[in-house]
């Protein structure tokens, strides 16, 4: 077993219907507990890379492996299970089901993953206590726990999403521009909460953003254009 949480090798990926590769990356790995800042201009394939890392899509050549399991070797249903067991996901916006309360939204991953449910119960005694722990940890007080998600502010919603991703302490948290809908103060405050939480759970974090100002807070920075051998013009640099 390698010491890498996530391993990517000789990857080639093109969107269906496209004749040119979108991504061509020789190697990338993420060690457990690492926090990685992945940056690059809009449209360079950052979100595509995250989808590949999370096993939502599989590459045409090469492989991506999470905990030594190649995403491409799994059937779709098994991929879904492996993902929810080990990966927490935060979007730029709209992470929550608007008709559920903040608390119910945080509990959602544990409804689909027995592994994360067990982990949450092991650490906090019961599911609800775990959810409340992470909601508090993300700076949300008890007054908002039982409010429907659609009544929360955008900043609160992102923090609920982070609490949800942290539930059951997954090995990897993937965040796709989670702060771009927030103003500068809230952005810092959000990272002030998320980064220590990842340290606590020993989760690795891969966060993409085009905002280089927050880069210094991560343990490693990766520029996607620097590792991607496909240029913007679609040419492959060998």
């Amino acid at each position: 077993m390698s010491s890498n949480l996530l391993e990517l090798k000789d990857l080639c990926f093109a969107w269906p219907g496209s004749t040119e590769d979108c991504l061509n990356i020789a190697e990338l790995h993420v060690r457990p507990g690492e926090t990685i800042f992945l940056h690059g201009p809009s449209g360079c394939g950052k979100s595509t890379l995250l989808s590949l890392l999370a096993g939502v899509i599989v590459p045409q050549a090469g492989y991506v492996a999470l905990l030594d399991t190649h995403w491409g070797d799994l059937r779709p249903a098994a991929r879904d299970r492996h993902r929810v067991d080990h990966v927490g996901y935060i979007f730029q916006q709209f992470n929550l089901l608007p008709y559920l309360t903040a608390l119910d939204n945080v509990l959602l991953p544990c409804r689909f993953s027995a592994k994360r449910r067990d982990a949450a119960v092991r650490h906090a005694g019961n599911l609800r206590a775990a959810a409340e722990h992470w909601l508090t940890g993300m700076g949300l007080n008890a007054q908002v726990w039982n409010r429907p998600a659609h009544t929360l502010s955008v900043g609160q919603q992102q923090r609920v999403a982070a609490a949800s991703a942290l539930m059951g302490e997954p090995d990897l948290i993937i965040a796709d521009e989670p702060t771009s809908a927030l103003d500068e103060d809230r952005r810092e405050a959000f990272l002030d909460l998320l980064l220590p939480a990842c340290t606590t759970t020993e989760s690795a974090l891969v966060l993409i953003s085009h905002d280089r100002r927050i880069a210094k807070r991560f343990s490693r920075q990766i520029s996607l254009p620097a590792i991607n051998r496909v240029t913007f013009d679609g040419e492959v640099i060998v």
Partner: protein, 423 residues
Amino acid sequence: MNRGYLINLAWRSAWNRRFTLALTVCSIALSTFMLLGIERVRMDLRSSFISAVSGTDLIVGARTGSTQLLLYTVFHVGAATNNIRWSSVQALEQLRGVAWVVPLSLGDSHQGFPVLGTTQAYFEHFRYGEQQPLQLREGQRFHDLYDAVIGAEVADRLGYRINQRITLAHGTGKVNFGADHADKPFTVTGILARTGTPVDRTVHISLEAMEAIHVNWITGVPLPGMHIGPEEARKMNLQPKSVTAALMGLQNRATVFSVQRQVNNFAAEPLMSILPGVALDELWDIVGAGERALLLMSGLVALVSMAGLVSVVLAGLNERRRELAVLRAVGASLYHVLALLTLEGILLTMAGIVTGIAALAACILVLGPWLQSTFGLSLQLGQPTPMQWLLLAGLLLAGWAASLLPGWRAYRLSLADGLSPRI
């Protein structure tokens, strides 16, 4: 993932979109209503036609076309070319195997409704639908010479009650050419219960009364200068010399063809007899074009309803793209997403269908009498026909397929967009 939670989630999600979903249910209900309603009308149109006469084994008249004989004896439409003599009617009663003969005399009308001269035996032996006898809604049969028993529609349309005085007009047109029987008014003594057949549109009087109002008439016109008052007429011989046709019942239905042959070979005058069922089928073949048009319309409505259903469900579910992406991100598999979508699709379709059926039943109950009196359509609440079951199954299938389509789309999108769909 336990199944109960998935259903709970489906319910919470549906409740969140309750107004859109209510519209969807209404639209499906409307489709169901239309489809079943048209099918109901089609079926009942046919059955009210076929049920116009039953329990009569043969209809006897002067030689003419079988359809024509049926039209004027049962539907009171058109006119006979020739009458049959009273002596022939008496002879028919004597034929072996004949249980009863009811003579019919037509040709007059009241406010456009045909007048039928007949005997008390008519009320005994005439049957319609499923061998149902005629029943009086009010009053009694005719006993006095100038008594009349009217059908339910005559009563309802003209607002007649018992003891209403009416006068009959000569001929069957609605327009009165001045040739009427105003000198001999009749009194309504009975109103028949509704049958959904031409009986409802008929004024019944006795054969003797028919004779009495024509005593001073010859070949369709009153004799000039000859006036016989109603009371004088009573004293005359009112035995009819001829009638238009006769209904015949047999002791044993198996002998129907031998009796028919005897009637058709009747020596004293040329007669013909028809089997009502066979003649009704022949006639339905002619007038059934309307039914086929309704069937075509049913088909078109079905097509449009199902297309509408698919588009409504699709439009409703398209707004859930973001919701489905969130569910995928928190670990719902494609199986869960498909289950959510189809569960909702099928439940919505079923709710719509049930609402539609309930609305149709309520409409038939509430509007039934009005439809009957305005359009002469008698709609029955009853077991759905096989065709209706088929239509319902088609609707359910279309609803299910319509809900699968967004599932398929969600699957394609998750492949194309990754986990973060573009808005």
